[in-house]
Amino acid sequence: MNSNEVLSNSGIELTEELLKEAPAHLTDKMIVDLVNGIEVIDDQIKVSKSRTSKFERFRDSFSGRSKHRQDLINDNLAKCMDNTRVWLQNHDYEIASINLAITKIADKLLETRSGVMKLNNKHNDLADSVILLAQKVDDKNKELFSYIRDVDLRTRADRQLDRVIAKWQAGGYRQVNAYTTVYMVLDTLKNNDFGLYLQHSNANSKDKLDMLLHLKDALQNQLCTELSIPSNSFHQNIGKFSTHELANDFEKLNQANTLSLNYLSDWSCKHTEPNTWLLHQLTEDSLNKSCSKSILDEIPNKIRINRWFNRITDENIHSRSILNGR
């Protein structure tokens, strides 16, 4: 509520127009006549009071001095009163001017406060928007960093896959047979960049599945090459490998490699990862030179290559990475 509203509610009509009718100008003379006139009055009263004897009073009356003194007192008193009136009117006028000035300042203050409040609200809105924007930028940054990390992980996984396949192609795994090589390659990928990608990348499942399919294709191609099987008919192929021959191969393998394989595959379980477990058991048998016959007795003599490939791949990478990663 500003001053005009306050005044209209109170029924008072106070405007600067009213102050245009200024009171009589208060001159220096008026002030002096008032202030100094009191001295004149005091002086005359002092003398008047001192006239105590009858003779003095008679003499003053007779000479007209008494009347003249009283006239002076009266004149000065009247002048003082009149000047006081003008002075008071000037004071009232000034007070009214000051009140109007205060009212105007209060209005301006009100306007300023209202403006500041508006500004504050705008500031708050802006601050909220900035916070929201910062949050969005932060999210976008995280998203970007996550994407960059995923791309990096993917790139590293791709490179590792390429390196491992290249190593295989270059005969880097010639100490072991092709089936064992598949496992070693899977184990190497699983525990390095490829595995990190599958386990920690925020990439969606489809991308990861694509990556796995790419891996399987690459391994499959290389395995086909190693086993001289046409890769385009790998899944229709009914070729099998002999578990006994596999066991014999492990017996030919030097102990260090056998120990490594044994160690790498000791996580496997007979029921959930039977093909990996089989490798583990064969290395175990080879190292112990004992109960391999009994293990071989428990498993089929021949295993279809393509089925074994799919299963061991799933055991080592697909099931543990993709499913667990979810």
Binding site: D28, V32, V35, N36, E39, N76, G115
Partner: protein, 358 residues
């Protein structure tokens, strides 16, 4: 019209020391008059104010003079011969006042004896007045000599300095003879009769040789000093003229006529009938004694160190109150006006600052 301040120093004999106090206060607060006027002792004081460089020097100078006045032999009266008699009779009926003067004068052997002549004056009628006045003027009817005063004037306000100083006006009364002047004064001041007005002379308009005589004439109280002849006409104390309303004793008129807008008026009488309201266009500050300045008739000639010190102190205190109060009130009003102007300017700026928040 530019403001012009005049200083009016009225007459009052030895009470003129009071004006030293006023000048000391004016000097302290830095009030410098543009013109000055005086009658009787006020004329003597005014001549020093006029001749000195400023009010400060005049105040110092006058204090010195007044200390000296108390020690000048011719100004020290034999009370038992004259003034005590006058003092005792001062409150009697007006007729007795004349008698008192006569008795007093009788007591001064070697001065003159005119009691018989006074009797004759009243008994023979007014037709013999002129003759009688002439007779009186031929007698050495003065109690004080003018020489000590002339010496002081020569030292502190010589004519050449007065000619170069502030415009100075003195009040003088064209004498009708010693007794008539006294009689007229008493009739006017005590019985309410009107006597003729005094004249005011602008000393800088007089020939240099006349200036000192004019000042002495202005202070020539009947019986106490001889009347002074100027251009063949005898003049006396200006305080005699217009005695009822202090026309001559308070020489305001010449300063108003010369264009003074503001006046400081020193009054040396308790309950003076000077009326400020006769001058509606002039701002007048009267310095009036708060306590009684005069205890008896003899105070007029009481050039005594104790009284002079007391009057100087009283003049200072009264000036401080009368002038100080008026100045304070005017100063406050001016501050109020200036602050109101600043306020209005600030409000105007506030109105036109184009402040806006959308």
């Amino acid at each position: 019209m530019a403001d012009k301040l005049g200083l009016v120093l009225s007459g009052g004999g030895a009470k003129g020391a009071y004006q030293v106090g006023i000048l000391k206060y004016m000097s302290e607060v830095g009030i410098q008059p543009d013109e000055v006027s005086g009658t009787s002792i006020g004329a003597l004081n005014a001549s020093v104010v006029c001749a000195q460089k400023d009010v400060s020097e005049a105040a110092v100078c006058l204090e010195l003079i007044w200390k000296q006045l108390a020690t000048i032999p011719p100004l020290q009266l034999e009370r038992n011969k004259f003034l005590t008699t006058v003092s005792l009779l001062s409150n009697l009926i007006p007729a007795a006042k004349i008698s008192s003067i006569v008795i007093a004068c009788n007591s001064l052997k070697g001065v003159f004896d005119f009691s018989k002549d006074v009797y004759n004056f009243f008994s023979k009628g007014h037709e013999q007045k002129e003759e009688y006045n002439s007779y009186l003027e031929n007698q050495e009817t003065n109690i004080y000599k003018s020489e000590p005063i002339i010496d002081l004037l020569n030292n502190y306000s010589p004519p050449d300095k007065i000619l170069k100083g502030l415009p100075l006006y003195v009040g003088v009364y064209k004498s009708d003879g010693n007794l008539m002047d006294s009689l007229n004064y008493i009739l006017a001041s005590k019985l309410g009769f009107r006597n003729k007005d005094s004249e005011f002379w602008h000393l800088q308009n007089l020939p240099e040789s006349t200036i000192q005589n004019a000042i002495i004439a202005s202070a020539a109280l009947p019986f106490l000093f001889k009347a002074k002849a100027v251009d063949g006409v005898k003049y006396r104390d200006g305080g005699i003229g217009g005695a009822f309303e202090q026309q001559g004793n308070t020489p305001v008129q010449p300063l108003i006529e010369s264009g003074c807008t503001h006046l400081i008026v020193s009054l040396l009488e308790d309950g003076s009938f000077f009326d400020r309201h006769k001058y509606p266009n002039t701002t007048i500050i009267e310095v009036r004694p708060k306590d009684f300045i005069s205890e008896s008739f003899t105070d007029m000639v009481a050039f005594e160190p104790e009284k002079i010190d007391k009057w100087m102190e009283q003049g200072y205190e009264d000036a401080k109150r009368c002038i100080g109060n008026s100045l304070s009130a005017i100063k406050l009003k001016n501050i109020k006006n200036q602050s109101a102007l600043l306020r209005d300017q600030s409000l105007s700026l506030l109105d036109s600052d184009d402040f806006e928040i959308n």
